[in-house]
């Protein structure tokens, strides 16, 4: 229920739309009931007048019938437009809302979560929420308002009919949904969870087809997905049976309502309390009134599904960010100075509480414009230093100062604006070469792009491409070699205007010669910037002002 309240809270800006949608839907439903009732009465009245050989005023009922027919048709059209417009707007906004809450969590808060799962949340789960307004709120509210009206109307003619209708409405509108809730809750929520699970498997599997095929695990993968798919089918099948049963139950209830009209009204017509045409009128009324009950079983199912989806969404968005944004409440935006100084005082970082530190008691002071190498073997925690520097993870000890100011004074964003990072595991977006570079600096001119590409010796490659800077790099840089990805990532860091350049293992995947050439070129060109070089080999070390050697922990 907490999710329910939260969802309603999110929908508050759309209150106007929502009320309009419910209003239109109600008008349409009522118009239909009136249309059917009057038509039944009208035909019978005409026939009886014909038999009696008298004339009757057929203009008024005919006009009402026309008006109701138009109201029903146009009302349904307007209602659909309004409700869908409202819900789609809500959903579009929610994607942004979700992104805004997910973004501060990365990377620390999303660690251990599969990207396919996060993907399911911003995609399918939010889409599921479409139904909350469309299939849950609107029909429930319409039924809530219309049913008492129907009961009073029936009660005016016959208490017995009114009572029967109340019982039938209860069976169709409360008991049937309750049974679905009881027998289908697990299946409905499983359906959401299982498809999210399958999506995660598919994302991971499709991205790793190469090794899967080579290591002969494609059959396992196929079988896993197949099992997940048939699990999904089992849930869907159970829901399908319930859906079929509830639909039939409602058809039956609507027929029984008509039957109740026969049962209670015939004696009253026979004893002359009512005129004949009242009988067909109430019969058709009883049947038509079920139109507001029919969507309720679907509503309950949609309700369960949206609850699960909302729970998954809020489960992520309610997390507290772990990185620097979590511990810098009084932080302000501080623009980086042209050449900031940097000082690490006995800094330690542990990825989880109680876990061994990635690095411990690290002290380092970097003067403006200084070139510092951090050297050490693989797995010693060199890359973790970057996570600490850019505030992705909270420090477990010590403090970092920029220009003598403690980290906690900086807002997360202004802190990151100090560093131009070429990470060890760079991500390339499925976009063009240009698009990937512009991530670092959206205002960069083509001249600037060509300059950084030249610095990393990619100019020739780009020139050889038909589309030049606009050639696509493929998913995760799939059309590039490992060395090209590395160099593009270095170029991206060079393009960033940030004053401290951080290169993490820039030589990975490169020829030693090329590594040296690129490093030398960067050291020649980037005279204004402070440079932190994280590496395990000796290239360009002789040109550094300072070396910090990390050795194996005891």
């Amino acid at each position: 229920m907490a999710e329910f309240k939260k969802l309603l809270g999110l929908m508050r800006p759309w209150t106007g739309w929502i009320i309009l949608g419910v209003f239109l839907s109600l008008i349409t439903a009522l118009a239909n009931v009136i249309l059917m009732s009057i038509s039944g009465w009208f035909i019978a009245a005409m026939a009886l007048a014909g038999l009696a050989g008298v004339t009757m005023n057929y203009f008024t009922p005919a006009a009402i019938i026309r008006a109701m027919a138009i109201t029903r048709t146009v009302g349904r059209y307007a209602e659909r437009l309004v409700t869908h417009e409202a819900t789609l707007r809500l959903v579009a906004e929610m994607r942004r809302w979700f992104y805004d809450r997910m973004e501060p969590l990365a990377p620390a808060g999303l660690q251990g979560m599969k990207s396919g799962d996060v993907f399911s949340r911003i995609g399918a789960d939010i889409t599921t929420l479409e139904n909350f307004y469309l299939r849950v709120l609107v029909p429930s509210l319409v039924a809530l308002i219309a049913v008492p009206i129907f009961c009073f109307f029936a009660g005016y003619f016959s208490a017995g009919l009114a009572l029967s209708l109340i019982v039938l409405y209860f069976l169709g509108g409360i008991l049937t949904p309750w049974l679905i809730h009881h027998f289908g809750r697990k299946a409905a929520s499983d359906q959401v969870l299982k498809s999210a699970q399958m999506r995660s498997t598919l994302v991971e599997g499709q991205q790793a087809l190469r090794e899967m095929l080579v290591y002969g695990r494609d059959d396992d993968y196929r079988q896993t997905v197949e099992a997940q798919s048939s699990g999904l089918c089992t849930s869907q099948l159970r829901l399908a049976k319930l859906q079929a049963a509830s639909q039939s139950a409602l058809t039956l209830a609507a027929s029984l309502a008509m039957f109740a009209a026969l049962w209670f009204i015939i004696p009253k017509v026979s004893d002359g309390s009512f005129e004949g045409p009242i009988l067909p009128m109430l019969m058709l009324f009883a049947m038509a009134s079920f139109e507001v009950i029919v969507p309720l079983p679907v509503a309950i199912r949609a309700f369960i599904e949206t609850q699960v989806a909302a729970k998954r969404l809020f489960g992520l968005t309610d997390q507290e960010p772990k990185g620097i944004s979590a511990w810098s409440e009084e932080a302000i935006d501080i623009k980086p100075t042209a050449t900031p100084s940097l000082e690490l005082k006995a800094v330690s970082l542990a990825y989880e509480e109680g876990a061994p530190s990635a690095f411990d008691q690290l002290s380092l002071s970097v003067a403006p414009g200084e070139r510092v190498a951090i050297v050490g073997p693989s797995g010693i925690g060199k890359s973790s230093i970057i996570n600490a520097l850019v505030g992705f993870w909270p420090l477990s000890g010590g403090e970092i100062l920029i220009d003598g100011q403690p980290y906690s004074r900086f807002s997360a964003e202004s802190l990151r604006a100090h560093f131009a990072v070429a990470p060890q595991k760079p991500h390339l977006f499925n976009s063009t070469l240009k698009g990937n570079l512009l991530v670092a600096n959206p205002d960069a001119s083509d001249t600037m792009l060509n300059k950084v590409l030249d610095q990393v010796q990619l100019s020739d490659y780009v020139a050889a491409q038909e589309e030049g800077l606009d050639s696509f790099v493929g998913e995760a840089g799939g059309t590039l070699s490992g060395g090209q990805i590395r160099r593009l990532s270095i170029a991206r860091a060079l393009l960033s205007p940030a004053p401290i350049l951080v290169l993490d293992e820039p030589g990975e995947g490169l020829d030693p010669q090329m590594e040296r050439e690129i490093l030398n070129r960067i050291l020649d060109d980037e005279t204004d910037r402070t440079i932190l070089l994280i590496t395990h080999n000796s290239a360009a070390l002789e040109r550094m002002d300072k070396q910090l050697v990390l050795s194996e922990r005891a």
């Binding site: 993907f119 790793a208 990470p423 490992g482």
Partner: protein, 590 residues
């Protein structure tokens, strides 16, 4: 892709569930017949009361059969609905299986520059497949019912009142005509909507996986705008599809309502003037809405069809692409024993990507069992393509690859791959324990064998240093481990296979010099007995190779052992001079 083509595909799919779907139609038709009878009984009751002053007691004999008809109709529609939904669910499952099999068979070699991203594929396999339910469960049966039930009602109407029947015959065909006129443009709109959804999904996945990078460059706020923009644009496209769908529903309903009104007016005045019995008039009027109901519903079903057509476009192209699974003539069912060693021969092998760009041309070489080959050359020279061809991830466009004299394309591919140990440049580790990651290629390997391989790959020490050792759970893509650690786990994974053919893609590039020296030894031990092909960047590896293949723009520039090539003083010697000038320090440092 044309709508007709996609429709044909969908129809062929639904034929797989012909039996349950047909049965569902039969049951649904039976329910319709029950409805016709039921309405007759009700009309009779009302007529008796109104025009013959019958009392409830007079009609008591009719009430139990009426109740039975109600129940019968409910039961029939239950089974009809259930069958249709079950058929749709089964069809979706089967199609998902088929599509996945196709996608796996196609493998990881994507067309260059294509937008076909994993996010897109995943959306097709999930949301795309789900979008077909309406087509299978509703559209297909409805198409038949639209014809059957109205005809049955028409037949009954004809016996009661020919004028109403004439109105029905005249108005009914107008409805589908108008709907199709409106629906014409929606086909393209639907495909556009679906493509937008696929692009949106692919973008989201890419964005989520690159969120850390976006944050590093403070680009995440800009990305937020992109999310808003894409979501908004998808909303607009969806709404434009829906607007047409709703409009066609409006038109259908309007026509149906007007038609019923015409029938009612004709009946009403004939009743007033005493030209018709009340029973006939009332009965026909009760039936009239059900005559138009299937036609009215066609709007909804037509929308379901359009939605399915939009979603199925990608599926059709996946199902129709050549997955290379066609067995070549003379294919072998079992792999000959290769444990004795593998010799390889490339005979004028060429490879062209589907988009026409050439990756390899006329590559020929032989490699005896136990020999090692180093592939050398600039990025994009075709080194990785040679590895992909041997891995069977791509098929040569020209020429042949011979394994111990047998054409590789005739060998059973899974068994062939089991003979290979492969260390890629960017190894992917699956989420799960380190233990499972190392025995990925040998799921039944014991812990001793895993530890031995890890020791050889210099991974044992850091693994046992983790709090939960070999049971340490890896995050997606090995997040939390360093590049070097991932590399060493990948080497252990390859070592565990004890394979006669080893394919390495710069295995030492990520390691510090101390580990690299040790791993060189481990790999050397592995290479002793195995045939080895290495994409090499380190002179040390290259020098020791039996054969060096220098590639330039997909062609062999030079071939031979190190000393011979140096003596020749050609491309290789130049490459060595330019790339490894200070080789003394480099070899020392690895």
């Amino acid at each position: 892709m044309s709508t007709k083509h996609i429709s044909a595909f969908l129809k062929a799919q639904s034929r797989r569930a012909r039996r349950p779907l047909n049965l569902s139609i039969v049951l649904s038709f039976a329910a319709g017949i029950v409805l016709i009878v039921q309405m007759g009984v009700i009309a009779f009751c009302v007529d008796s009361v109104l025009t013959h002053q019958a009392t409830l007691t007079d009609l008591l004999f009719l009430l139990p059969p009426l109740l039975i008809l109600f129940v019968l109709r409910a039961v029939l529609s239950y089974f009809s609905e259930r069958l249709a939904l079950k058929a749709a669910i089964d069809l979706k499952h089967t199609l998902r299986k088929d599509l996945l099999t196709r996608l796996i068979a196609k493998g990881p070699i994507l067309e260059r520059g294509s937008e076909n991203a994993v996010g897109d594929q995943v959306t097709t396999l999930t949301e795309g497949i789900e979008a077909l339910e309406g087509y299978f469960a509703r559209y297909m049966p409805a198409m038949v019912m639209t014809v059957l039930l109205p005809f049955a009602i028409l037949a009954v109407t004809l016996t009661r009142d020919w004028l109403s029947a004439v109105v029905m015959v005249v108005t009914a065909p107008l409805i589908p005509v108008f709907m199709i006129l409106i629906g014409k443009g929606t086909e393209r709109l639907n495909q556009k909507q679906w493509r937008k959804l696929a692009r949106l999904s692919a973008h989201f996945l890419d964005m989520i996986q690159g969120l850390t990078t976006l944050k590093l460059f403070n680009a995440s706020r800009r990305e937020a705008e992109t999310v808003s923009r894409m979501a908004e644009s998808y909303r607009r496209t969806t709404m434009s599809v829906l607007r047409v769908a709703f409009l066609s529903s409006l038109v259908l309903e309007f026509f149906a309502t007007v038609s019923i009104a015409i029938i009612a007016v004709f009946i009403g005045f004939r009743l007033l003037y005493g030209n018709m019995t009340f029973f006939d008039g009332f009965y026909v009027l009760l039936l009239a809405p059900d005559f138009y109901l299937p036609l009215r519903n066609m709007g909804t079903h037509y929308h379901a069809r359009m939605e399915a057509v939009g979603a199925a476009e990608t599926m059709v192209s996946v199902m129709e692409m050549d997955d290379g699974s066609e067995k070549k003539e003379g294919s072998l069912d079992a792999l000959p024993d290769l444990k004795q060693g593998i010799s390889l021969e490339f005979r004028s092998v060429g490879f062209v990507y589907p988009d026409g760009s050439r990756a390899l041309e006329d590559v020929s070489f032989t490699l005896a069992a136990g020999q090692s080959l180093a592939l050398v050359g600039p990025s994009g020279a075709g080194k990785s393509t040679i590895i992909d061809l041997i891995l069977g991830l791509a098929q040569p466009s020209e020429g042949q690859i011979l394994v111990n004299g047998l054409d590789l394309s005739t060998l059973p591919i899974a068994e062939w791959r089991a003979q290979l140990a492969y260390v890629p440049q960017k190894p992917t580790l699956f989420s799960g324990s380190i233990l499972d990651a190392i025995r990925y290629g040998q799921p039944d390997a014991g812990i001793e064998a895993v530890e031995a391989a890890a020791k050889l790959a210099q991974a044992h020490d850091f693994i046992t240093g983790l709090s939960d050792g070999y049971n340490h759970q890896l995050n997606e893509k090995g997040a939390g481990l360093s590049g070097g650690q991932i590399q060493r786990i990948a080497i252990a994974r390859a070592l565990l296979r004890n394979a006669p053919l080893v394919l390495l893609d710069e295995p030492s590039a990520h390691l510090d010099r101390e580990n690299e020296a040790r791993i060189q030894n481990a790999l050397h031990a592995l290479e002793q007995s195995a045939t080895t092909i290495t994409i090499a960047h380190r002179l040390h590896t290259i020098e020791q190779a039996d054969v060096i293949l220098v590639l330039e723009q997909g062609k062999i520039a030079e071939m031979g052992p190190h000393n011979a090539l140096i003596e020749k003083d050609g491309a290789y010697a130049g490459l060595v001079r330019s790339s490894f000038e200070s080789k003394s320090t480099e070899v020392q440092h690895g």
